[in-house]
């Protein structure tokens, strides 16, 4: 292992350390938090030989660039982005070597997705709160990147001839951020739908647009809603990530990983786990449509996604092994 410095030369609107979130802290009032697009974050780590939940860099909007002072193994995932290394185009969703002194530059198109994840083989030197490096703005834990970040890495470059076939051909489950048309989000109905007759049909038939008032607590959507007839008070309670909440105003809110207890609004459904990564990429202006699915279908999609990531883990372990590494490059 050696210490590598990354000079951060450009950051986006919000550029932070990130991971998959806190464990076992919701019972103590601290939301799990973590990457809004968990799939892209996990895949970025797998592509560089890290454990899925290793700390990486999340970039929301704008550009991200850095120059390492030693060769590093990097992967960029999330929203479709233009990636260059030393000015030459490079692929996202793939392991990349950034040579010492060269700049890697990531420029995303906000119209295609909100967040990029940049994983680097190794362990970032980052502060933790309750065992996680994920920021928590409410608790004053911002995790903004400084001008230089440090990393402990065992990466020493690959033994690879220029004349050999491409280094990797990996089964990468790329998150589909379609350019045109609405994104389709699967939703499982919950009890609140029963208290509002017709809301299920209305949501299935309508289209919703993400507004600029959205943040890490929730996506606020413009579109038709219905309210319950009764004004029975709903006592504050916990809600899952992805809950579709109808506040008093005429809007729909999809709660994110930093949600807290509800203020007592009806929850008509909960987005399927397999749909959450896409919601993490939905920026202002994005059109969404909802499709009701039963719980079994929802879990099956989640299982498919998990199988894909596992297949990638096996393939990267093999590829890295063939290049002279025994399995994963680091062991937590």
């Amino acid at each position: 292992m050696r210490t590598v410095g990354l000079d951060i030369t450009r950051t986006g609107w919000v550029t932070t350390f990130q991971d998959l979130g806190r464990r076992d802290t919701e019972r103590r009032g601290v939301p799990t938090g973590g990457a809004a697009d968990q799939h892209s974050a996990a895949v970025a780590n797998v592509l560089v030989g890290n454990p899925r939940d290793a700390t990486l860099i999340e970039n929301l909007g704008g550009e991200l660039a850095f120059v390492p002072d030693a060769d590093v193994l990097v992967a960029v995932t999330g929203a479709p982005a233009r990636v260059t290394i030393g000015g030459a185009p490079a692929a996202s969703w793939s392991p990349l070597v950034v040579p010492a002194g060269q700049e890697i530059h990531v420029r995303a198109d906000l119209a295609l997705g909100a967040r990029n994840y940049l994983a680097v083989n190794g362990v970032f030197t980052a502060e933790t709160l309750l065992g996680s490096t994920a920021p928590d703005a409410r608790m004053g834990f911002t995790q903004a990147l400084g001008e230089r970040v440090l990393l402990e890495s065992g990466f020493r470059g690959f033994r690879h001839s220029h004349f050999a076939p491409p280094l990797f051909r990996l089964p990468v489950p790329v998150l589909p951020c379609a350019k045109e048309g609405p994104w389709l989000v699967d939703v499982v109905e919950s009890y609140g739908a029963r208290s509002i007759p017709g809301v299920r049909e209305l949501i299935a038939d309508s289209s919703y647009v993400v507004t600029a008032r959205s943040n890490h607590v929730g996506l606020r959507l413009d579109g038709p809603v219905l309210h319950p007839d009764t004004d029975t008070e709903i006592v504050s309670h916990g809600v899952p990530v992805g809950a579709l909440q109808i506040p008093h105003a005429d809007e729909l809110i999809v709660l994110g990983r930093y949600r807290s207890l509800t203020a007592g609004y009806p929850i008509v459904g909960v987005a399927s786990r397999a749909s959450l990564p896409l919601l993490g990429q939905a920026g202002p202006g994005r059109e969404l449509r909802f499709r009701w699915v039963d719980r079994e279908t929802s879990v099956r999609r989640s299982a498919q996604r998990e199988d894909e990531v596992r297949a990638l883990e096996r393939a990267t372990a093999e590829a890295f092994g063939a290049l002279g590494f025994a399995g994963h490059l680091i062991h937590p």
Binding site: R27, G29, R138, S302
Partner: protein, 244 residues
Amino acid sequence: MTTEQFTAVTVEPFGDSAVMVTVPHPEQAIRRTAIVAFRERFLAHRPPGVLDVVSGLESLLVEFDPLQTTLPHVEYAVRLLAERPPVHEPLRARTALRFAVPVVFDEETGPDLASVAEELGVAPTEVVEAIAESTFTIALLGAAMAPMMDGLRVPRPVRRRAEPRTDVAPGAIMIAGTNAIIQPFPGPTGWRVVGRTPYTIVDISRPEPVSFGTGDVVRFVPVTRDEAAALGADFLLPVAEVPV
């Protein structure tokens, strides 16, 4: 706390990876104490695949990994734990911690004191007395680990503000209904702000950012501005352990 209070629980599926547990009972107080007792028991006997729980005032959200367990399994475990007291459950040997929180109650630290007094038909000093004479129990840790407490003894429940405040200082003591809460970080609130403690309630630089937990007992001790200044922003620590 008796165990038969929650022999029947309601388990409501919530999305593809959570259920919400409630204890149906006409009396609010029983619904609330029963769900706290159930939570303790559930966490002590956490079924495989359960990731975390989120406490509401009268509910417990149980979050699980649907690839490690299934909804019927979780539901079954919940009902089993509710109906059959586990054999190894300790005989309520848990000790709660007791906290004495110094609070400055004046017009500046408690901008809602006057309106609460008016609403209750008493003088502002009597509101302060009522708060100081109440013994609070921490029901749950709310947003950013804020201790949400039950036990405010007032003639009738205190209403929330019609117009929420947008920026309340850390350490603010706030009340609503028969609950009290301490604001750990600057932020918005719809609760009525009645005082402020100089102490640091949540310190994120510590491995354990708070010293309190569900079931702990809190009293508010009125202090003057000078006394508060002398105390400083020390991290809130318990004064004693009390058997429950």
